[in-house]
Structures are given as C-alpha cells and as structure tokens.
Symmetry: C2
Subunit: 251 residues, 2 copies
Amino acid sequence: MRRLEIIGLEGLGGVRQGDSIGRLIYQACSRHRITLVDGDILVVAHKIVSKAEGRIIRLDTIQPSSRALELSHELGKDPCLLEIILRETRRIIRVGGGTIIVETHHGFICANAGVDLSNVGLGQVALLPLDPDRSAREIREEVRQLSGVMPGVIISDSFGRPWRLGTVDVAVGVSGLKPLKDDRGKNDRYGYELKASVAAVADELAAAAELVMGKRGEIPVVIIRGYSVEGEDGSAKELLRPEAEDLFRKF
Amino acid sequence: MRRLEIIGLEGLGGVRQGDSIGRLIYQACSRHRITLVDGDILVVAHKIVSKAEGRIIRLDTIQPSSRALELSHELGKDPCLLEIILRETRRIIRVGGGTIIVETHHGFICANAGVDLSNVGLGQVALLPLDPDRSAREIREEVRQLSGVMPGVIISDSFGRPWRLGTVDVAVGVSGLKPLKDDRGKNDRYGYELKASVAAVADELAAAAELVMGKRGEIPVVIIRGYSVEGEDGSAKELLRPEAEDLFRKF
C-alpha cells in the first residue's frame, strides 16, 4: 500500500534571531528519537524562519506614509501595519471588504503581503523571509551537515483563496524537490493521454503539514515520510503562474 | 507527537454504474486487512462516484448548441465537450487562453465545470456528482452499515487556482466533519487573539490524499488516520465564499 506519515515536531517554540533552524530541527528530532531518513520532507512554518532571519518588526517603530494612511481609512486597519504591507508590495491587486490583496516582491499574490500578527509577540509583525527558497536551501544544508541526510524542505504559509473560504497552506520556499508533478503525456488505463495533469505537490505537502501544525504555533515543523520525491531540486517560483497566462490579475 | 497516516486503498478500479462505493471500500479494506476505526477519514476521488452514479456521458451523443460552437472556435476545444460544460454551468466567470472558468450549478468555481476526460474511457467524460455532499453521506452510511464505524467522508476533485500553477485537490462533498476549522478568538502563546485563522481543513485533507492518489486513477480512495475531526457534520457548501465577500468574481 502507498502510505505517507505526517509527523509533527514539537518543542521548537522560542526561535530567536540568528538561530539555525536546521540545528533546532536536528536537536528536536534527537530529543524525540526521530531519525531523519533520505526522502523525508521537512515542512517549516515561515514564522520561525522569519524570526531566525530577523524579519520581525515592531509596529511602533514605523512612520506611515500618506498612502498607508489613506488605505488605513479605507480598510479600517492600523496605518503602521499598512505601511509595512506596502513596503513588501510590488503592486496592489485588489482592495475591498477590509482586505488588501497584493503581489509581493517575491511574486506571491496573497493578503497583506504575507505580513502577519500572530505568533510573534504583541505589537510586532512577521514578514515573509526575503528569499524563502534560500531559507529552504540553508535549512537543508544545515540538516545535511548534522545528520548526513538530505531532506526536501518546504517553507509554508497560510494563504486565502478567491471563491473558497478558509486558508490552505502553500509552499513559499522549496529546496530538494520539484514543486510541480507533471503527468502530462502519460496515459490513463483507458489509453487516454493526460493533458492537464500537473499537480502542485509542494502546495499539497504544505497543506498536509498544516493539518498537524495548527494555527497556534506549537508545531512549526512537520516531517512528511514516504512521499517519493521527484527531481533533485526546484524553486517555489515554479509555482507562480506567469502574468500573461493569468485570467485573474489584470482587469 | 501529533501524527497522521495517509493510506492509499488500491484495487477499486472498475467501478460501474449502480455500484455501492461504500461496499467497494469496505471490501477493499477487508482484502488489504485494514480495519477502519472511528475518526478515520475517507477521501474518495469524485471520478469513481460519478461512475457509480451514472454521471458519465459519451461525447458522440451530444448535439452542440450555437453557444457551444462559438466557444469551440474561441477556445479550440471540442464543441460537444463545451456543450456538456455549458449544461453544468450556472454562469461563465472567464474565458481566455484556451481555458473556461465557470460557476457550476453547485456553486463551485473551476475550469470546465469539473467535466473531465481522464480515467473514464475514450470518447467519454465524467461530470461532477449532482449532489456530492449526498454522495459523501451515502458512502458514510454504507460503510457504517457494513463495518459499524462512521468515518468522515470527503469527495475530492483537482482544481486549478488563479496566480499559482498546478492543481491541488479540494473537497467537493463532505460528510461527518466540519470543513472549516475556526480558531478565531483563541489566543496564541503571546496572548494575541487570532483574527483570521480559519483553515479549510477539508481542502487540506483532500490535498494530502492527492499525494497518495496520483492522477492515473489507480488509487481512488485514501484513508486518513489520526486527524481529530471537529464537529459532527458539515457540507462542502460551507467552503464556498459568498459572492458579496468575493473580490474576484464580478468585474
């Protein structure tokens, strides 16, 4: 039987700037007597990566621009928070209903440019890592140095979606696996050639991990065991739909 | 440690109209010596449900309307396929780049109204079940009658997304669990009250199952074990964002 295990790694709570996430993961595995094996995938909540990389900002250090003040009136949100969101933004996609959807400098389209108030401490916000693929590569390399094993690594965040309620976790950084699984050109059992079968497996792995992580920060790292990784390496940027092929970006 | 298992159930290939999916699942579990337990969640690819419910159509029985012929020219797709898509459609959301995004009569917004050519036999297409929540309830009840256990049941399909490439599986039918996990009002460890933390767990469970299912139809049913289901029952309709709150429906 094809079988996956999704294992929550507890005890990684108090991450501080400068910490090595790879080392913390290795140490937590040791404490819990978990031996990482080849093919394991580590899904890491971006929040602890942002903390380790110093991507945390105190709201009271921010001077809001006039644009942030305008948006603050329109959205009923803190102008300092909006100023931080604007600094993380390449362009605004939609504003309405108390929500701001933007394209970040990385190219992700999401609410609030991924700027988040939860699980960081009162009066502070977490930004997405500057280069989440690089963060994933570094974690992978740290784990390799300590354990000799090269896991796949996914940095995850919770994104909302058009049309459907609730967030699902997606991959914002990837190392050691291809984020898309392309079955186009293969035949089904009836001889039909699959034409649209590209699965965003890195996003599905992130979503699967969220079921164990939860939203309160107790389990920021999840090990997925038994998934047969295809491809040696990849980038979360492969998940971004090019603007020219996107029906929901320009209006 | 919090831990989930995701177990693919093989040997459910040749589903025919009139088959009881619940009975086929029960029999496949018996053959593979898997005993279902309370709390298990069955994720069932909609394709086998559509087959059992007779929601399969031969393309050569269809007379395309003038609207289907027009769209056929615009999109470069088979006019008979487009006629079937239009019959499943409440309204068209976007047409472009060879793609048609519609709102189905159920309220799902997806490509091709969920009409699918793969894993059904050449010259045929599968429609989504008429009432996927009802399909999920029936499977749940059939399994209960045979095993005494009441699993959660999710009917899944692969949907594309704006902005991101690749499909992820989502829940189109639900029985025996709440599809949304609402943590709003709870506090994180810093005392911050969570304000936006609603996870679409039924979609995340469907996404997790796809990692084991794959796209070629060999594993149409997956058992997810170890997830603590909240709520006695729910509907996939709870996942549909109301139009008035949706920033990407009307233009």
